[in-house]
């Protein structure tokens, strides 16, 4: 039986992690179908049909799908599920919100946040904030699996031409009403997919001081991250949070500034290829995962760092 991928999109275009989830789906079975649920989402559906790993697109349209409410999405997918062995989605806030609702309707024990497909019924997933890895075999007939997007490469995005089939909408769930979404717009790369992430912690001492980080991030073409402590203190908004309950990032370079390195933060960044830590406390746990550690006062080190970057002839972007 084929695998059903749930596409994440904003009604205009696919969200990038759909491509990572498509890769994971294709590792389970080569017959990948993708469902896209939205309103006026034809362009995104077309994009989905162009992914070479996707063999068929199912498009569901309705005004009540405009805001991706799980209560409206779940019945559609539950109905489609009879033809599929697996339902796959990213383990970001979209998939975390939606998939368990589907799994419960299907009476299936979901496997969350996998980082590797070992076989179609066996998966590797981190537990305890990534301090242990569990190999899990699912004995359910239908498997609901969410994937950690940064653990799978994005699939090719062009060259495919899967047929797009219309599927009937289901009834509206009237007890949940969308009010508003406040998205923080930025010209910087997205935190989840950026090649370089510069993150600040409680050591930044104020929101104003984050401009020292902004400056460096702009110079490097980097995304800006933060520890929970910095978000809780109000220095920066929640969409920047890296960690067990925030985002998981795996950039080529992660620069942790004024971050002590609580287990919960390490869970979100310790798979990064190169890690730099700048902290004045030489005993801070962040140094245990850092490839390059600099024990220094960040208020002295950051202006110097900017100065040194300015001296370079070229910076990779």
């Amino acid at each position: 039986m084929a695998v059903l991928l749930i596409a994440e999109h904003n009604n205009k275009e696919l969200r990038p992690f759909t491509l990572n989830a498509a890769t994971a789906a294709s590792q389970i079975d080569s017959d990948v179908h993708a469902v896209i649920i939205g309103q006026n989402s034809a362009d995104a559906a077309k994009q989905l049909s162009e992914l070479p790993v996707v063999k068929k697109v199912l498009s569901v349209e309705g005004a009540h799908y405009e805001n991706f409410t799980a209560e409206n999405f779940a019945p559609v997918i539950v109905k489609l599920a009879e033809n599929y062995s697996h339902i796959i989605c990213s383990a970001n806030t979209f998939g975390k919100n939606l998939m368990p609702r589907i799994a419960a309707h299907l009476d299936t024990s979901q496997v969350s946040d996998i980082i590797k497909v070992i076989s179609p019924d066996t998966f590797l997933r981190p537990i305890y904030a990534g301090n242990a890895f569990a190999t899990i075999k699912s004995n359910d007939v239908k498997k609901c699996v969410t994937i950690r997007p940064t653990s799978f490469d994005p699939c090719e995005s062009a060259g495919g031409s899967a047929p797009i089939e219309k599927v009937d909408a289901s009834e509206e769930f009237s007890n949940t009403k969308f009010i508003k979404r406040e998205e923080i717009k930025s010209d910087r790369p997205e935190l989840g997919t950026a090649r370089i992430v510069v993150s600040g912690g409680r050591g930044m001492q104020s929101g104003d001081n984050f401009k020292l980080i902004t400056e460096i991030a702009d110079k490097l073409g980097a995304a800006i991250g933060a520890s929970r402590a910095a978000v809780d203190a109000g220095y920066i908004s929640n969409d920047h949070q890296v960690g067990q309950t925030g985002k998981v990032v795996v950039p080529d370079l992660y620069i942790a500034i004024g971050i002590s390195g609580a287990i919960q933060h390490l869970a979100g960044m310790k798979e990064s290829k190169v890690i730099v830590a700048i902290n004045k406390d030489g005993e801070a746990p962040i140094f245990s995962v850092a490839d390059y550690g600099l024990e220094a006062d960040l208020f002295e080190a950051l202006p110097q760092f900017m100065e040194e970057l300015n001296k370079l002839n070229t910076i990779q972007k």
Binding site: T69, E71, A91, T93, F94, K96, N97, P100, R101, I102, A103, A104, H105, T108, S109, Q110, S112, D113, T122, I127, Y128, A129, N131, A132, F133, A134, I136, K137, N139, D140, N175, T176, K177, F178, I179, R181, E182, E183, G192, L220, D232, N238, Q244, T245, D252, L253, I263, I275, V276, F287, V289, A290, Y292, G293, L294, A296, A301, Q304, F305, E308
Partner: protein, 249 residues
């Protein structure tokens, strides 16, 4: 309005996790255990709503072995009125927990069910959403702000792109983010008082729910260790290393 709050006992968030040598799990013997952190936020929010005169009763429920009752006792010490302990040995999957909670909801008929958005042991992030599916109730996950308005809640949710606000009709499920509030500490007099508050014990086997596992945990292992890095002497050396050795800038 009556609020049911589900709490889970987990390894304390400050404990350094150790994997058992035989690969069957992590070491839990002689390890400090606590209430799952966002479950503390769930209790705090329910108690605050009651203190504001918008709820009449807060009931704390846990599902687990004998010692799981500590989490209910702690909830009673910070303001919950009474407790329920569904006794069961072994580790339950979120699907089984949500089926047990469904039975408790049938019995207690709460208007709201609160719980943490995720347990920090298995990191599944499923139970609240599954329970709302089984009950066909609205779900407000990852809540960082809750406004109670008559028979509706306005909830701000933390999502990857920023914040989302939804309005849900009661009865409903809310899963709580750590930023929802600042959980209070139990005072000594309240800890003493909590000892007199009732906790109803129910055997999971009496609820008629199939809790048998669907997943097999084949192995638990340590994640690959990062090789030890170096300390650099100054910023100039750091930038030089990043440019010429790591080649990442």
């Amino acid at each position: 309005m009556k609020i049911l709050v589900a709490v889970k006992r987990v390894i304390d968030y400050n404990v350094q996790i150790r994997v058992k040598e035989d690969g069957t799990g992590v070491v839990t013997d002689n390890v400090k255990m606590s209430t799952n952190p966002p479950d503390d936020n769930a209790i705090e929010e329910a108690v605050k709503i009651k203190e504001a005169g918008k709820a009449t009763e807060v009931v704390a429920v846990t599902v687990g072995e004998e010692k799981a009752q500590e989490t209910v006792r702690k909830a009673l010490a910070v303001g919950a009125d009474r407790g329920i302990h569904v006794k069961v040995d072994g580790i339950l999957e979120p699907l089984a927990v949500s089926k047990i909670l469904q039975k408790i909801v049938d019995k207690e008929k709460p208007d709201l069910v609160f719980m943490g958005k995720q347990a920090i042991d298995d990191d599944c992030n499923q139970t609240g959403q599954m329970l709302s599916a089984l009950l066909n109730w609205p779900q407000a996950t990852f809540a960082s702000k809750i406004d109670v308005k008559d028979n509706k809640l306005e909830v701000t949710r933390e999502i990857d792109e920023g914040l989302e606000t939804i309005e849900i009709n009661v009865p409903a499920i809310v899963t709580c983010d750590l930023r929802l509030n600042e959980p209070r500490y139990a005072s000594l007099p309240n800890i003493m008082k909590a000892k007199k508050k009732p906790i109803e014990e129910i055997a999971a086997s009496d609820l008629g729910v199939d809790v048998s596992p669907r997943l097999e945990q084949l192995k638990v292992e340590e994640p690959p260790k990062r090789k030890a890095g170096i300390k650099v002497a100054n910023v100039a050396e750091l930038v030089q290393k990043l440019k010429n050795e790591a080649k990442v800038i």
